[in-house]
Symmetry: D2
Subunit: 211 residues, 4 copies
């Protein structure tokens, strides 16, 4: 019997594509609540945050446009939605709550964009796509959590909005490893390049300064 990989291979999935400057960096939902196994986190998320630190340093050195997403519901929960029906605990992420704040290790700098959202994709009904479009970005490097949720939804939208998504395997994390791996497979086959951050940082494109 044909394996999943064989089926995908035979039908022509999983091709690679060239990386094109200018590059941008998107960091999805690396907030305290997703770093904490007792809230909405766990699994390999802490390691993914740690691995993202040097990518962020690098992106700033190359003057890439950098954006972050946070899940933020309004204080009165007027914007409670279907996502909040499926996962009631996510509605606790409010503007001032510790759990919705971006982790200290990846604190946004002046001039970097932070978008607030109440759904999985960092692009859905946020100013994110126009912001990268205005800057002419062609390849979007993606870190964040969780791989099987907000990262994957953001990667699908990044591609749909016309950006080439590059997912950093060790900089995306999930509360459980099964869904993490399953979604990396889907993204690699259909939507994005997937590589380790070391591989990205060693590419010649990464030494040219701002494209």
């Amino acid at each position: 019997m044909e394996s999943t990989e064989q089926i995908y291979g035979r039908q022509g999935f999983g091709q690679t594509f060239s990386l094109e400057a200018p590059f941008g960096l998107l960091i999805v939902d690396f907030v305290n609540g997703f770093a904490n196994p007792n809230v909405l986190g766990g699994g390999n998320i802490s390691q993914a945050i740690a691995r993202t630190v040097s990518v962020l340093v690098h992106a700033r050195a190359l003057r890439w446009p950098i954006a972050y997403s946070r899940v933020v519901f309004s204080d009165d929960e007027a914007d409670r939605n279907v996502f909040g029906l499926k996962i009631p605990s996510i509605v606790a992420l409010k503007e001032a709550s510790f759990d919705s704040a971006i982790v200290d290790a990846l604190k946004p700098d002046v001039g970097e964009l932070v978008v607030r959202k109440t759904v999985p994709s960092a692009f859905f009904m946020t100013p994110l796509a126009p912001w990268f479009t205005q800057r002419g970005i062609k390849t979007l490097v993606v870190a964040g959590c969780v791989t099987s949720g907000c990262v994957r939804a953001s990667v699908v939208d990044a591609m749909s909005f016309g950006f080439k998504p590059l997912v950093l395997r060790d900089c995306v994390g999930d509360r459980a490893l099964g869904p993490h791996e399953a979604n990396l497979f889907d993204m690699q086959q259909k939507y994005a390049l997937v590589m380790d951050s070391d591989e990205l940082l060693s590419l010649p494109e990464m030494r040219r300064g701002k494209a």
Copy 2:
């Protein structure tokens, strides 16, 4: 060690929600090329198509708004995109090609909407959400293929656009069963109700005529 289900359960994922009329039906990409294991199909897609027939009959009897999506690239491939770079074979789906035509068993009727797309989600940059919004739809029943691709992307967007997605487990199919199951898990935990079509059709809400 905690299982994936235990982690999700402990963090409050996978809650149910009430079904609310009016209902709509969305059939994602059930086209000849995805029904054919030698093109882009295989796995349990044929069975899913067969199971969808009676759902469609039912939806028509209840006068639900019904919409379909097809993947259609322009004849000159001017709209070739990143999705087409990852899966070059998908760009062969053109307006007049057999493989992009909706399967005979589910041929759209007059007054039913067909949207054309070049990305995974049936909602992304198509008139689909406005069409259901105009009709006041609150719950959107979803069939189609593939579970791990265009169905899942459409379900995430359905939820994000404000609809309650109800995925029919036996009416969605995939070329490979691993990704099929992994994505049903993700959708059930985070985005949608998942049930069998028999269960849906036996609900009291399904006998009331048009809500």
Copy 3:
């Protein structure tokens, strides 16, 4: 020579349509800075705010979903955009600035939605359309300012997202009356019903309670 009205009439523009429940109310950019002739306001905006008060009371009594928009740029202006290039003074509207706060007379209540935006339309890349869609809204009553800018852009998007827009002539205002009238003409001919608030409030539909 044919007048503008004759041309539009001969070509079939400006038809009416039925009002359909459920109704929602959208109040666009009635913030302090647009109420102040020395900032971004003037003209008939103050009168439009005064006229909107009783509409808001009415909408609350009928338990309509009610939403507001504000222009809010981030404190570090990371989201400065083309709109801000054309109108540099608009970038001064920040989260905590007096000029970006909704006027006291129309202060949002708990459970009412406030969307922040950096572009003309209250719908563009904000959660507004999904919020009204989730509530099944079919007709959207629109007040706000300015008629020739954010109101008109929001009305075009309301229609495009599948809602029937109803613009209250005396509840929309502009810093200058020429553009105000020109844009009321465009909206009445192509996108919306336009009527006085007294006419709306005297309609039988307005007495039925929540539709």
Copy 4:
């Protein structure tokens, strides 16, 4: 008493901005039905079409990405919407109808994008923004009709999606000159650069080949 121009000037509207390569060209709704005064056209639309011919030649020589929009309703009118309620005659524009075909003088070439729409903006729920984003376009030159309708809606969306809109005054037309002028004023003050095509074509940026 202060004139409209004085009010806008005092409040800081109408600033200019730099043109930035890469450039793209968008031609909105120059179809037979809008060129015909007996259908949906008239006024200065024919002259605008004639003036656009040399811009198109120029854009092709410089290898700019070029896109066109058409209004196209489905044959069974399943997608009839609020726009069609306001302007019933517009629903007659179907895929195969003469009136929905782009005028011969501006026939699209292989590799140029044509988007179909049923609402004013060429960007609304069409693949237009992702297509220009994928190509890194920063400045979008706009021609088309009508100035007070689909052109203006497309220009607002172009700006909102992150592009710098440049409206060619003599390459946009309308069935009536009052709304044409009123909308050029609004766009010039708030959303776009407005210049004559001769001025554009004589800019140094226009001689550099593809940026």
